[in-house]
């Protein structure tokens, strides 16, 4: 049996171009999703080029503390979003802070996605290890991400990396469950049986059929998970477990503004709004992607 024959069951890639066009058109029709994607793109680009566009050094203080944003009576164009309790430019800190927040989300989801999906797909492929992997999952699910974060920080001390590791670990069980359920569906397909019949190795079946046919659904789940991870990461930083000063991180900025809530609410509100926007955009975009890519929802 030739390799061409074995690829026949996984025919989806051959239709990739028209499918791609159709889901993109479907996405274009969803105005909320488009708006979310555009906003998310702007936020991501602004975060990437933060050193080029930030008007001030985010870590240096000025003698203008708690300067309100430009649209208020006492606001100035020098500090468009105002300054924080230390006299640091909030806009610059938001740009750098978004960078760190997105990085935390991406790396944590990456860790959780790779390990969780790998475990889930393996469990779906090898029924013998399935119960073990799932019980391990159940055990991990009993630890909330914030508790795990607290425990890791207690051991390693506060910092971005303990938070990323905690969030990554906390993402594993969910990813594993989703990947397993998708994988079980794929493993029941005839082309898998055909592959086995022609003597393909497990690694080839995993790589060429199981992974390829599961990846899009897993990615959709990860895009939805991204918003949650950002939110939990910000919460951990809010509790003082994440980024350490002088680094800026959106959750930490919101925490720093908490003491001034009655007198200078912009210090806590602005980073909170940015967190809200990122999470909202990620969730709306993720939902839309699921709608257009999930064949069961196409009808």
């Amino acid at each position: 049996m030739s390799a061409t024959d074995t690829q026949t069951p996984a025919a989806a890639p051959q239709d990739a171009a028209p499918v791609h066009k159709s889901w993109w058109r479907a996405l274009m029709r969803d105005r909320a999703a488009m708006l979310a994607l555009i906003l998310l793109t702007i936020i991501v680009i602004a975060a990437i080029i933060a050193p080029l566009i930030a008007p001030h050094d985010p870590n240096l203080n000025s003698r203008s503390v708690m300067q309100p944003p430009v649209w208020t009576e006492r606001g100035t164009w020098e500090f468009i979003l105002g300054t924080d309790g230390q006299g640091r430019d909030i806009l610059s800190r938001i740009l750098y802070g978004t960078r760190l927040t997105l990085l935390i989300g991406l790396v944590a989801v990456g860790i959780g996605g790779v390990i969780g999906s790998g475990l889930g797909l393996l469990a779906s492929m090898y029924p013998k290890i399935d119960p073990w992997v799932m019980r391990l999952n159940d055990m991990m699910l009993s630890f909330p991400a914030i508790l795990l974060g607290l425990a890791l920080v207690a051991v390693a001390g506060p910092g971005v990396w303990p938070v990323i590791v905690a969030l990554g670990i906390a993402s594993i069980p969910d990813c594993a469950r989703i990947a397993r359920s998708i994988g079980i569906g794929v493993m029941g397909q005839e082309y898998i049986e055909a592959g086995r019949a022609v003597g393909l190795s497990d690694w080839t079946i995993f790589r060429r059929y199981l992974l390829r046919n599961s990846i899009s659904s897993i990615m959709i789940f990860l895009s939805l998970r991204f918003g949650q991870v950002i939110l939990i990461g910000a919460a951990l930083s809010f509790l003082g477990l994440g980024a350490r000063p002088p680094a800026s991180e959106l959750g930490m900025m919101a925490a720093q503004g908490r003491d001034f809530l009655l007198f200078a609410p912009h210090i806590a509100t602005i980073p909170s709004v940015v967190i809200f926007l990122i999470v909202l955009c990620a969730n709306v975009a993720g939902d839309a992607l699921r709608d257009v890519l999930d064949p069961r929802l196409k009808s």
């Binding site: 870590n59 240096l60 309790g85 350490r244 720093q256 809530l261 009655l262 007198f263």
Partner: protein, 523 residues
């Protein structure tokens, strides 16, 4: 109908009267216990001053030692024997008469090694404490201790009941405390609230109080409210009637709020500082410590971060404190970032690729251990930003209060953030700069025989001038060595409801309400 109305009116009057004798005080943190000899927390002192009494008291000027349980006392010519004469009619909350034996028991328990009191040294080098009769206490020292009377005003010298200690065992100061103070122990729910009730018949309070009898308040509740905005709102909405724990940012608004009054006392000795462990590679260089002092603008800190509600500190103790040497005023290190840069350059600390200075492979990035909480977070970030401008990185490490005290008793940090109350130069210097107090509270590892000798000289001094001269030498030496980076002196500010008579802020161990005898609703 008439009867119902009359009953209603009577109930309203009674309720009003009851309310007018109850007060709710909010504070930031609780104490771990209320055993006078075992807790050094300010929260413990706040409650113990109200619950208990000491032989002598301190007036709000923080200088005058006055009557307490003792109506008078004599000091021998060699300053080694103090004889206290007790007031008449003093009773514990359980109704038992207090005698000189109770005072002796309390003071001896304080210094007993078995008690393991972290503040036993404050009692001086005791030869013996005896009670020749029921109304006389004789306190004999091995060597003169010029601070003794001040130390005896502290909550650590509170007179307790031996029976109570034996009955409660490990729960002493946790589930109860039988004392002689203006208020009696009610209930303590850790990290929530403590209630205390009026000690009926109390009439042996210090004479500087207007109220010579029992407290006006029938019940006092100390409520723990960790979040500062919540405390502010509690005051503004009359859920609390008084507190000293209002953030500086709120003072301006409080002064304009018609329902509250703000009272400030500058006779308050509570200083915030960063201490350097002088044998660590980064801060062992005196030039670095001096440069760090020059790089931080304490005036801007006081003005911008603390809204002008504190006094910038360049000295380690308030310049109003007993035995401060005014000759040092001109020698104090002031803000001069350019001089700091020059000093670091000359000392061989050159900026690296990341802008942080380094020398002989050592990066000038000392760590700073601080306690969690909004104040230290703000201070540390300000100092960090200031130091960054001269090429010094500061690695801030924040610890929860439950971990912090253990962490700052180790040798693992370069610098630490701390604030402390004191009553005089001797009090402050003997606490922090004695070599025998290494590793804590001498967390700087300041080990200098000359300092030890001068401190001993100050403690043994039998007259004010020689004591001040000895402590002046220590003050000069440690300021010259830049062992600390002083940040600010905090005045005592009390925010109270206008329903209360104006409160005169006290500051003994930072307890603004002290014995609370004059707490009273306006009539």
């Amino acid at each position: 109908m008439k009867k119902t109305l009359l009953l209603g009116c009577a109930l309203a009057v009674l309720t009003g009267t009851a309310f007018a004798q109850e007060i709710n005080i909010v504070r930031e943190v609780d104490s771990n216990n209320y055993d006078p000899h075992k807790s050094t927390a300010r929260a413990a002192a706040e409650s113990l001053f109200m619950l208990g009494d000491t032989l002598v008291s301190l007036e709000p000027d923080m200088k005058t030692v006055t009557d307490g349980l003792a109506k008078s006392w004599e000091v021998s010519d060699d300053k080694m024997t103090y004889t206290f004469h007790l007031k008449d009619g003093i009773k514990f909350c359980d109704g038992r008469d207090m005698t000189a034996d109770d005072v002796v028991y309390s003071l001896k328990r304080w210094i007993d090694p078995e008690t393991k009191s972290p503040v036993a040294w404050r009692a001086g080098t005791v030869k013996d404490i005896t009670a020749p009769d029921a109304k006389t206490v004789v306190y004999q020292l091995e060597e003169p201790f010029s601070e003794l009377l001040y130390q005896l005003t502290q909550s650590f010298a509170t007179v307790i009941d031996k029976n109570d200690v034996e009955k409660l065992g490990a729960d002493f100061g946790v589930t109860g405390l039988n004392t002689t103070g203006p208020f009696c122990w009610g209930e303590w729910l850790p990290r929530d609230r403590m209630t205390m009730t009026r000690h009926e018949g109390y009439n042996w309070g210090p004479q500087f109080y207007t109220n010579k009898g029992a407290p006006h308040m029938a019940k006092v509740t100390w409520q723990i409210v960790p979040e500062e905005n919540t405390r502010t709102v509690a005051l503004m909405t009359d859920q609390s009637q008084v507190t000293q724990y209002i953030p500086q940012i709120a003072f301006a608004q409080m002064r304009n709020t018609p329902t509250v009054e703000v009272h400030r006392s500058d006779e308050a000795f509570w200083t915030w500082f960063i201490g350097f462990k002088v044998d660590k590679p980064t801060v062992s260089d005196p030039a670095v410590r001096r440069a760090m002092n020059m790089a931080v603008d304490q005036d801007a800190l006081a003005r911008d971060i603390l809204f002008g509600e504190v006094t910038p500190a360049h000295s380690y103790i308030s310049e109003n404190a007993l035995d401060w040497d005014p000759a040092l005023n001109d020698k104090l290190i002031k803000y001069d970032p350019e001089a700091a840069i020059k000093l670091l350059d000359e000392a061989g600390w050159k900026p690296g690729a990341d802008g942080i200075r380094e020398k002989d492979g050592v990066k000038l990035r000392p760590n700073l251990y601080i306690q969690g909480g909004s104040t230290w977070q703000k201070l540390a970030e300000f100092v960090q930003a200031e130091l960054l401008k001269v090429g010094i990185g500061l690695d801030i490490q924040v610890f929860d209060a439950t971990v912090f005290w253990g962490k700052v008793a180790t040798q693992e940090f370069d610098s630490f953030g701390m604030s402390y109350p004191y009553i005089s130069a001797g009090d402050a210097l003997n606490l922090y700069f004695l070599s025998k107090n290494i590793p804590t509270p001498n967390r700087m590892n300041w080990n200098d025989p000359e300092t030890d000798e001068w401190l001993a000289e100050g403690r043994r001094a039998t007259d004010d001038a020689s004591r001040a001269a000895a402590y002046a030498k220590v003050l000069d030496k440690v300021h010259e060595a830049a062992v600390w980076l002083p940040l600010y002196h905090e005045p005592m500010t009390i925010v109270q409801s206008v329903k209360l008579e104006p409160i005169v802020p006290h500051n003994n161990y930072g307890a603004g309400l002290y014995k609370g005898l004059d707490l009273k609703y306006r009539e």
